[in-house]
Amino acid sequence: MGAKLLWGLVAVAALYISAPVKAQETIKIAFIDPLSGGGASAGEAGVKTYQFIADQLNAKGGVLGKRIEIVGYDNKLNPQESLIQVQKAIDAGIRIITQGNGSGVAAAITDFVAKYNDRNPGKEVLYLNYAAVDPVLTNEKCNFWHFRFDANSDIKMEALTNYMKPRTNIRKVYLINQDYSFGQAVRVAARKMLAAKRPDIQIVGDELHPLQKITDFAPYVAKIKASGADSIITGNWAQDMALLLKAAADAGLQVDWYTYYAEGIGSPTAIKQTGLNHRVFQVGEGAANEPYAPAQEFEKALRAKYDIALLYPRAVNEMRMLVTAMSEAKSAEPGKVAAKLEGMKFDVFDGGEGFMRADDHQFFQPMYVKSFGDLAANEPFDEEKTGWGWHVVAKVDTADTVLPTVCKMKRPNA
């Protein structure tokens, strides 16, 4: 009797153990980003956003009859650690990787993926980059398995400086950026483009500080103040942006800010505290208050579920394009999906058409410059309960964002 029961249990257990067969019915995507340390606020918002997008897609039946599953990996914003996490994801059978925060990390991953795919034909991995914007990744270091859904740093700076060009109140600009590939790309582009568009503007400071390590920006703010700058250009993101704005708020620094990521968590609160009504600008591929019904519906649902704003409309584009490519290819095989993604034209999250340039795998899409402050009557979304929100001040059409590339794309078997 006892033995029978035991065998029965073993049989039941065996059933459960063979359950992973079910796992084949999901398509797993590894989300590799900082989930701890100074970049965590960006990474956490990212993983929630991807989760939300996956849930929405699954509610519509997933793709190829399978569910999409997001698996989060903490890379601690460290290139070496990222490669360990990529390897872990690959070992777990995941063949699609998405990463965004940190161009240093992105450079390491794109190299790794290229080498891995060369050495493991038939087991290729696809790398979808949603936020690492160092231009190098789609130029000198471009690679067939890497696709970038965010506008690169030069495209953003082009839009930002075009907006700055007619603003004659800008006389003295201070550059403050993070000391790594992306921060350096921002400062180089800013200097070059300002010199061409507004040679009268004086650059009174050009700062590089350690990435996501500084907990008090007061010394930097004191220096900015002493420089007499009236405007700041910065590519800072996550904690580096929030704390810089916070230190500026504490010191009462009254300047205009031209930024890449001032909508990150903590920043809106600091801007409101300083009272910089419509004096902080950000360039990006979307805006919550842009009157486009499908986007606003999404925004409302995301805020209701996670209480975060959509920081990454590009992530929605990425996932929707991925699903489209898989359906068209009738396969989740990275090589076939990549072939469909190349050159794909797609209606983007905030309306308008974008396209994935086959030459370098850079996605081009309409860009917006927006400012943070009092809301107009038809603008429903405020940020972090400040009562202030983002207001679009300039829109750039897809065609006007296209920049040349030096990429010579090497395709497998070509």
Binding site: G37, G38, P210, D216, A218, P219, K225, A226
Partner: protein, 316 residues
């Protein structure tokens, strides 16, 4: 310029005093154990997280008292039931014990509060500019941090040098056997020193939590600087720790605002390395860019030139 100097001095002194709150406990514990306590910055982090949690429940001011008390008790227990047992086996096990403890505390903090920063706010009572220097506001909370740290420094100094307890502690640190023979309970003294040292670090944690960032890597960010302070000041020397804290606080703040590079200093030689070479990088890097490594440079120099530290009496 004057404005920059005044604001940087205030910022530097304030950061230095915060460092001192932690370094004072660390240096006392070093005198006692004979090894560095790697887990000291973890008690600072525990202080910040306890402070955050208690402030949520009962407000910031009770938290300022309760959190350090709790951490002090934890510190005392760690000494009583952990270190004291390991002590018998010599210095290396002690070192390893504190090293492991630091990891355990970090993991526990991540399990409870997560890896992302928590929203620890400055209390509303202190959320205003205290005064304005030229056109720059100085936040009241920073002034509060400065005053608390200074107050504790004075109190600690008086207790250690003027009171009977302080004399026993000082004696026990250097001549434990003699003090024991005189009838004092030396293990109790050690446990109290460890507990109070941890509590001081926790106070630093509670007051730094809202101003800096309360997150699970805060111990890792500050820990290495603490060792620099203690070694530069001279292991076991309270006065040394005080001076070194201020020195490092000021160096870090001022270095950020100085844009001088070797190229500027030696500009008169008209020497220009070829662009893109390593020499060119070294030549043009500014003091502001290398600000974060200056304390470690100081550490190396002190160890080479005066291994006892600036005020210390024994070899490190």
């Amino acid at each position: 310029m004057l404005e920059l100097v005044i604001i940087s001095t205030l910022n530097g002194v304030q950061f230095g005093m915060l460092l001192f709150l932690m370094a004072s406990g660390l240096t006392l514990i070093f005198s006692m154990m004979g090894v560095l306590n790697f887990a000291h910055a973890s008690f600072y982090m525990l202080g910040a997280f306890f402070g955050f949690q208690i402030a949520r429940w009962v407000g910031f001011w009770p938290a300022l008292v309760i959190a350090p008390t709790l951490v002090g008790v934890i510190g005392a227990l760690v000494e009583r039931y952990g270190l004291r047992n390991v002590h018998r086996h010599g210095h290396v096990p002690e070192l390893l014990f504190t090293f492991g403890l630091a990891y355990v505390i970090e993991e526990v903090v991540q399990m409870i509060w997560g890896k992302a920063p928590v929203d620890f706010r400055v209390p509303a009572l202190l959320d205003f500019p205290a005064f304005t220097v030229f056109a720059t506001n100085y936040p009241a909370y920073k002034l509060f941090m400065l005053l608390i740290s200074a107050g504790i420094f004075v109190a600690l100094f008086l207790v250690l040098t003027r009171s009977r307890i302080g004399l026993v502690v000082q004696a026990a640190l250097t001549h434990p056997h003699m003090v024991a023979h005189l009838g004092h309970n030396v293990p109790l003294v050690f446990m109290s020193v460890f507990g109070i040292g941890s509590a001081l670090a926790a106070i630093a944690g509670v007051i730094a939590g809202p101003a800096l960032v309360t997150q699970s890597n805060m111990a890792g960010l500050l820990g290495p600087i603490l060792f620099v302070v203690v070694v530069v000041g001279g292991l076991g020397s309270l006065a040394g720790a005080f001076a070194a804290s201020l020195l490092i606080g000021l160096i870090q703040t001022f270095a950020v605002s100085v844009n001088v590079s070797l190229a500027d200093i030696f500009g008169f030689t008209h020497f220009t390395p070829s662009p893109g070479s390593i020499l060119n990088d070294l030549w043009t890097v500014t003091l502001a860019q290398i600000a974060p490594i200056l304390p470690y440079l100081l550490l190396v120099l002190v160890l080479i030139l005066k291994p006892t530290g600036l005020w210390g009496t024994r070899e490190t």
